[in-house]
Every structure is written in structure tokens, then in C-alpha cells.
């Protein structure tokens, strides 16, 4: 299987950059890591950049006058430059957060808690991750606003006709996921943003599963807010990004208060630092920003177009391989042009947890559960699924190991 003519990326060669994929494991099992939608593995240069920062120039950023502090600040802010460049967004409107969840919470609190009121509506979708549902529910509970859910079609797409009907004069925010972490669906966010803006609503795009895997142009999408996380794009945990429209950030009050985010503090009150630092209270994730900067440089060298092309090929291999497993159902689009390489499935007679446990004995790492998308699970009528998700280092060998392990799993549990 496979059409190598389309391949512009050598996954096997890239694996050499990832220590975890090349080091012998204690139990001698070969590692088939198919859980990159949960977190990606890290290339050596990211580990080295963070290590070098701590060993060579660890100092707190911004106000230090000594040279080492200036160097720390330069490496930290270079991380911001890299991230901003990757998604084509102004650096001053690129805010570092703890993760994508915190980026969404920042907007829910700094904008929503102040601007929403009785009768206002926040429109999310049934395929959102809990991180793009729960912050809105909490803020709606305080403000009297309502959270509405755009339905998903049986084919695993957003029902855009329904969305068009649901967006109205009461809609203040449309919050939508770019690529579903469960179904793999790629949503037409540019069209949705235009639809929302035409009705006077703001927009939040959860780009957590798109930025690591395909070219994402924040300017072209045009949303007011776009959130993603570092650890799914070859970077470290503990750092996320909010790419926001500069004028929104200027107009918003801060989210968290403390050091770094102020211009002046008196006993009477405080004034705020310039953006983006107005939204970065306290010592930021410095080593993490350095690591994320190195991750972005790695992704740029590989090429986001090449990563997308590779993952389309892997998604095709995965769908073909899963099709060979009797009793297996894929939940999500079958058209690789409209999906990422994160594939959810169920196997007749075998619970996803049992699939995950069995596959582990063959070194195949998949996720099992509701994937933090419980409203979607209820909507498609399953309690949980198993999910295999690929990245730039995924090879056909990984996919064949998945297929063989699933066939063996079915036999082991005696599924009819």
C-alpha cells in the first residue's frame, strides 16, 4: 500500500532525531507510538535547547540588567518570534500561556466574564474538546449567557447549515475546533469565522490539532482568537499559545494579575504592561519557550506542507489497514482530504480499554476513552473509542503493527 511518489518526507530518517524512538527499551519491545494527538515525542534539538538554557544562561527574564539575564530574555523572546512566524501572526499579539486550555480560559474570563450577559449566546460545537466547552459553561453560569452546540452530521462533519441558522443577533462568540482530536475532521474555519463575523460575533479557533500537523495561517483564518499548545508540536509541556487580534488584547482587561504584567502599581491601583506581557503574569515558562522555539525551527526545516502530505499518506494507510480488521468501525470522515491522521475506532465485542491494554503488549501505544469529548461521544452513540494518531515520525511499519495487533486482539478476547 502507499503512493511513495507523493512522499516528500522521510519519516524513517526523521526518527533518528527522536531519542525515545531510537533508544532500546528495557523490555526490548519495539515502540509503535500512535498517540501523538495526546502528546508528540520530542526531537533531540528541543531537549538540547532547554538543557543549554538551564546550563548556560538560566536567569529570570525581562528586568535583569546583567548580560546573562539579557541572554535569557533574548532566547525566551526568540521562542515567541518563532511561534508567531509559524502561524503568520504579529509577535506582540502572541501570548504564552500554560497550554491551549489556559489560552481559552484566558479569553473566557478576560473577555467573556466582562462582556457576556443575560440572553447572550456562545456557540460551540458538539465535536469540541472539553477545553473549548467547560470554560464557556463556567463563564455562562456567572453571566447568564447560554452555551449552544452546533450538531455534527453522521459522516462526522460540522452541520454548517445548522450553524448558519444558530448564529444570530444574540451570538457573541463562536468557538470551534480546527481539527477534531477524536474524529480527525478538518473544519472549514475560514468560512465559519466569516459567518460569525458577518453576524457581529467574535471567534475562537482551537488549533491544537492543526498547528502541529499542517500549515496554519492565523491571518488567513482571521479569527479573533486562536489557541494551541506546545507539547503536541514537538515542544515541551507547560507552554501554550494564544494568538489574538491585537485590538482585542488591547481592549481586554488582564486575566491573571501579578508581576510582569503591570506598568505601575500603587496603593490606589495598578496599570497594565503592553501586550503581550499584559497577559503573562509571573515568571513565564522560559525554558519551555526556548524549547518551543527549537521545535518550531525543526518543523519549519521539515516543512509543514511536507508534514501534511506525509500524514495524508499515513491516514490513507491507516484507514486501509483498519478496513482489514473484521468488526472494526472507524468514527470520522473517510476522505483523507478532509481529515487529519488521528483515527478513532471501535471493535465489536472488545472494549477500547481492553484494546489499549492488549496493543501495549505489542508495543503499540494508542489512547482509549472519551478523548475529553463526552458530548461528541453521546452524540455518536458510543461510550468510548480507541484512537490511533500519527505524526511526522509515523511509518507504515507502525500502521502494520497496529493492524496485526488488532487482529490478534480480536482473537484473544474471542469476539464473535
Amino acid at each position: 500500500m502507499g503512493n511513495s511518489a507523493q512522499h516528500t518526507l522521510d519519516a524513517q530518517a526523521l526518527r533518528a532525531e527522536f531519542p525515545i524512538l531510537t533508544s532500546p527499551r528495557a523490555d526490548a519491545r519495539e515502540l509503535h507510538y500512535l498517540d501523538s494527538a495526546a502528546t508528540s515525542q520530542k526531537p533531540r534539538r528541543v531537549l538540547d535547547a532547554m538543557d543549554a538554557y538551564y546550563r548556560e544562561t538560566n536567569a529570570n527574564v525581562h528586568r535583569g540588567v546583567y548580560e546573562m539575564a539579557a541572554e535569557a530574555t533574548a532566547r525566551f523572546e526568540a521562542g515567541r518570534d518563532a511561534v508567531a512566524r509559524l502561524v503568520n501572526h504579529p509577535r506582540e499579539a502572541t501570548v504564552f500561556t500554560k497550554n491551549a486550555t489556559e489560552a481559552i480560559n484566558l479569553v473566557a474570563w478576560a473577555w467573556g466574564a466582562r462582556e457576556l450577559g443575560e440572553g447572550d449566546e456562545v456557540l460551540v460545537t458538539l465535536m469540541e474538546h472539553h477545553s473549548n466547552i467547560v470554560p464557556w459553561q463556567i463563564v455562562a453560569g456567572i453571566t447568564g449567557a447560554t452555551v449552544r452546540f452546533c450538531p455534527v452530521t453522521p459522516g462526522g462533519d460540522l452541520d454548517l447549515d445548522a450553524m448558519r441558522d444558530m448564529i444570530g443577533p444574540r451570538t457573541r462568540m463562536v468557538a470551534v475546533v480546527h481539527v477534531s482530536n477524536t474524529l480527525g475532521t478538518i473544519n472549514p474555519v475560514e468560512e465559519i469565522v466569516a459567518m460569525a463575523h458577518a453576524a457581529g460575533a467574535l471567534t475562537m479557533v482551537d488549533a491544537t490539532q492543526s498547528v502541529p500537523h499542517m500549515p496554519v495561517d492565523a491571518a488567513a483564518i482571521g479569527s479573533d482568537f486562536l489557541a494551541f499548545t506546545g507539547h503536541k508540536m514537538c515542544g515541551p509541556t507547560g507552554i501554550g499559545v494564544l494568538a489574538a487580534a491585537p485590538e482585542r488584547l488591547e481592549a481586554m482587561e488582564p486575566f491573571l494579575g501579578g508581576g510582569e504584567m503591570i506598568s505601575d502599581v500603587t496603593t490606589e491601583g495598578s496599570s497594565w504592561n503592553e501586550i503581550p506581557w499584559k497577559f503573562e503574569a509571573g515568571t513565564p515558562p522560559i525554558a519551555e519557550a526556548v524549547g518551543l522555539g527549537a521545535a518550531v525551527e525543526f518543523l519549519e526545516q521539515v516543512g509543514m506542507e511536507n508534514i501534511r502530505a506525509h500524514e495524508m499518506e499515513v491516514a490513507r494507510q491507516m484507514l486501509d489497514a483498519l478496513d482489514e480488521v473484521p468488526g472494526l468501525t472507524v468514527h470520522g470522515p473517510g476522505d483523507i482530504g478532509r481529515r487529519g491522521a488521528s483515527v478513532s475506532f471501535t471493535l465489536d465485542g472488545v472494549h477500547p480499554h481492553d484494546i489499549g491494554q492488549f496493543l501495549d503488549t505489542r508495543g503499540v501505544c494508542v489512547r482509549a476513552g472519551h478523548h475529553c469529548t463526552k458530548p461528541l461521544m453521546r452524540h455518536i452513540g458510543v461510550q468510548s473509542t480507541a484512537r490511533a494518531s500519527a505524526y511526522l515520525y509515523t511509518t507504515e511499519d507502525d500502521i502494520l503493527a497496529l493492524r496485526d495487533a488488532l487482529v490478534a486482539c480480536r482473537d484473544w478476547f474471542g469476539a464473535a
Binding site: 492488549f358 476513552g369 461510550q383 468510548s384 478476547f413 474471542g414
Partner: protein, 149 residues
Amino acid sequence: MGALDDLYQQLILDHYRNRRGRGRIDGASASVHEHNPVCGDECFLDILVVDGRIAEIRADGDGCSISQAAASMLTEAAQGRELDEALDLVEHFRLMMHGEAAPDEELLGDAIALEGVAKYPVRVKCALLSWLALRDCIADYRETVATGG
């Protein structure tokens, strides 16, 4: 498949494929509905109490092989026991799953086969779901009786 045999003993697979005590009880003395937030697995547990004993116990719901086998084994182990005795049984099982008690085969019956699950922290919750539901079910029953409900 050493690791798998350890976790999925034949007895567990047998209870998974041929569930004992499955279903609901019409006119149950007490019922609880619990779920595992990790995986969304659900358990409905009903008991019928006659003269201070569990005259009938049934478990329903969907879940993985461990949770389903554990529920099946629970209905066998708890059937006919006095309520305090049943609570002691649940506590002994809970301690075994946390590696804090050596299993008492006479008390546990087939459920002793779940001992190996203790080595898999994520799966311990699967095994405990129905057993802890019985503890809550007995507490609900006693509260209802105490308040004359």
C-alpha cells in the same frame, strides 16, 4: 503473552463472556448508578434486601472486560450475605486491589482472579466500579430505612 495472562486470567475472560447476575431488579430495595470518569463506563447496581440479607443482587451497564468480570464476580460473592458481611467483603476486595491485603479466597470466590489487576493502576478503577457501587447501595438502603422512606 506473560503480561496479558497475568491481567486477563481465564476466569476473568470467562466471566466477561458469560456474565453472571446481569440485569436489573424490579422492585429493588436500593439502586445506584455509577460511572468511571476515566473511560465513561457505567454500572447500574440493584439489591433486594430480605431480613437484613442480600436476597438478590444484579449489575448492569457497559464496560471493559475487567469491569464486567468484576461485576459478574461481585454478584456471586455478595449473594445471600448479611449487609455488614457484604461491606466487609467489599472492603477486603478494595484493600486487595490497592495491594494492602492478602486475598482471602474463601471470601472472594472467583474474584480472587482479579488480584493481578492491582499491578495496573488505571484498571483498578474498572475493577472497583461495581464493588464500590454495592457499598454506596447499602448506605442508600440504610439511609432510606432510617428515614422511614
